[in-house]
Symmetry: C2
Subunit: 434 residues, 2 copies
């Protein structure tokens, strides 16, 4: 049934995977290339970082998602180059020809030119990042339990989250749950409630992309569970012992051993590779500027979708969120099917379904088409929306069980300190071998 029209997709995130699945009945051969063997449900990554979920709960093997789709194959490979003239994608182990290429490799952590902060303040993008976060947080309590000097003990019990967007707010909320509930009875020398949690952001409110009344409610929810919110403060330094911030032109220092980075993102390196070979323009974050149909200027057969794409929508660009990525994936699938039939299509337009962020156990804020929710009702909506979203990829049953269990018991059963680096662990650049 399938013709030889070859669609090659780089990246198995929300954009690439949605596109591949939307092409399941199209007369094309789909090749999806990713350097990892799983799709990562990023909106719940902070739950892995704080021990609420296991990595297998939110990472689903791409092969199993596309297992029954006979016109799709999956390659686990690192891309080394793109050749738009000969329509080839090069990877470490070979070359794949394409008729249509879609690049959807997303975004990466960004330290605003201060890469030296990364060693002290890990970011949260990969499963490995989440385990580094979890280890840092859990080890901080362990170190405090062993420490006898009260000043150093308090340093161990101080957590600073940099960035008050959705990830930062959700992280700070989960940290508050850990100190208030999860670890309540676990220590003998320290009281986990003595832990201090700060969230620091340069903007004038938390969740700056949300409607203002929800920012106010989110701030109140954070403060209610013991998080100190510091706005209009720029981080000027991070070491293994402290964070320095500048607020109202005054420099302040917060002594801490645990800084969690939830601030900047930049485009994945594939943006630069594509730009150099195809002449595509990029913005200052490294994202590829795309046309109205998500294609690259001068290359109607090359598309960029998801976080890697800079898509103008009025005066702004579309945000780097999963709904944009998934809608663009579905759009490009329709466009490919139409093109094969010789039909044209109007440009992509984003339908904003609303925004949601959760703040610890029981609280959340939500905006659906002008209707604003907060507290318990928003938390239930948040739960429902995320479960519905993740069901498409098949892990719902496990997550519901794990969440139910955690919720009833206040436990975070995944609060293991693992990922200790064995001598024979696989370095990212070694995967795949040969």
């Amino acid at each position: 049934m399938t013709s030889n029209f070859r669609v090659v997709i780089i990246g198995g995130g929300f954009a690439g995977l949605t596109l591949a699945r939307a092409l399941r009945r199209a007369p094309v051969d789909v090749t999806l290339i990713d350097k990892r063997n799983f799709h990562l449900f990023q909106p719940l990554l902070y739950q892995v970082a704080t021990g609420g979920l296991s990595n297998a709960n939110i990472a689903i093997p791409i092969r199993s998602i596309l297992s029954r789709q006979s016109n799709a194959r999956v390659l686990l490979a690192d891309i080394t180059g793109i050749d738009p003239q000969r329509k080839l994608v090069h990877h470490k182990n070979g070359t794949v020809p394409y008729d249509t290429l879609v690049v959807a490799t997303g975004s990466d952590k960004f330290y605003f030119g201060h890469d030296e902060w990364q060693q002290f303040a890990p970011g949260l993008k990969t499963i490995e990042d989440a385990l580094v976060y979890r280890n840092k947080v859990m080890m901080a309590f362990e170190a405090a339990e062993l420490e006898t000097d009260p000043a150093i003990r308090q340093e161990h019990l101080t957590f600073v989250v940099v960035g008050a967007g959705p990830t930062g707010v959700e992280l700070a909320g989960a940290l508050a749950d850990i100190k208030n509930l999860t670890l309540k009875h676990d220590f003998r020398s320290i009281n986990p409630r003595d832990a201090k949690i700060y969230i620091v952001d340069a903007m004038d409110r938390v969740l700056p992309t949300y409607p203002e009344d929800l920012s106010v409610k989110a701030k109140a929810s954070l403060e209610k569970i013991g998080v100190t919110v510091i706005n209009k403060a720029r981080v000027t330094g991070i070491t293994d012992r402290a964070v320095t911030i500048s607020r109202d032109d005054k420099i302040e220092t917060i002594p801490t051993r645990t800084v969690l980075w939830a601030a900047g993102i930049k485009a994945s390196p594939l943006g630069r590779i594509l730009s150099e070979s195809s002449g595509a323009e990029t913005d200052r974050m490294g994202r590829v500027i795309v046309e109205e149909d998500c294609s690259v200027k001068g290359h109607p057969e090359i598309f960029v979708i998801g976080d890697l794409a800079h898509f103008k929508s009025g005066d702004a660009t579309l945000p780097a969120v999963a709904p944009v990525a998934m809608q663009q994936g579905r759009y490009v699938a329709s466009l490919i099917r139409n093109r094969i039939q010789g039909k044209s299509m109007p440009g992509f337009s984003y339908r904003d379904m609303g925004t949601l962020a959760t703040i610890g156990r029981n609280a959340a804020v939500a905006d659906f088409g002008g209707l604003h929710f907060s507290g318990w009702p928003a938390w239930l909506i948040w739960l429902f929306v995320h479960l519905m979203a993740i069901v498409e990829f098949g892990n719902r049953l496990l997550i519901v069980t794990q969440w139910g269990w955690n919720y009833l018991t206040w436990r975070r059963s995944a609060r293991l300190i693992t990922n200790l680096c064995p001598d024979d662990c696989i370095k990212p650049e070694q995967a795949p071998p040969d």
Copy 2:
């Protein structure tokens, strides 16, 4: 209520944890020291290694297990020395005094003097080991899918398990399930069923410690699902490309990229540390030879239990299995309670409740007091026994769900290639920090 009689337990495995819990109503102060923050349910480690379970399913935070036990505290620390004269345990961050010391740090991988094999044939003792196994197995199929040379492709699709004890047999069975069922529809260039699985052992039968008829049945079960059983064969060499074995004085070579070590164990290094400071005798595996009451000769206040103990039972020594460890833990708890009341106790005797091993989906062999089971009934018994055992430590609900899910769908949802070594991962010797 608690007096100042101090019981210090080193090791939070089956022996140490059972002992700590059995002392929950005793008038003692319990300190449990472990270098990891979780108890590992080792009998199911091969399930994590083959993607059937997540690490959080079989690793339970020690603090949460002992959370409500007010006479127990937990220290996450690396032991550096034992001083029997002054009754002190030294760890990296300080010193802990004891009245009674129990050492239960278990066993480690052993390569029979060929440590150079470890880099090619990882063993299976820790959570990290299990992820290394999983990565190796999953990457082998990925590499085969990308490979165009048929000979090299077959090397990628050849798996050799060294050691046909329970761990080796269970591993080989799970590998067969992966190639026959789990990955059935996942690849386009290779057929996972073409994978070859060998299990190699120097003894004349699989499961050599089991009754002979069960060995015969286990071998038949393995062969039925496509595993090649090679007995009376000594491994003489392992490289990244092949395993060399000597059988009937003939040398044979099996080309393979994936060798899984399930053969030898040796005592944990604490055995040597204790022996040097207390004069305790050790056997050639490094295990501490103990008295009839599990104490060290000349030191009635120091006990060694679990895999680290060499306990004579008639002509043999007790095997390194969880039931021995747990019964010894309960015994020493009784002995401590009795001693405090001035009472004496008879020596420890092991009550053998039977043995069990599973061979892939649906098959197992079991021996309960002379009653032998195989096939489906044994598999159901195996499932029941393991669930009952793990419930004590609290993770049953999740495991049942995950197993049920895997069983109904043939999926192994945890077959992720993770544990890639980020630059900032925590090295074992760094934990805990400071």
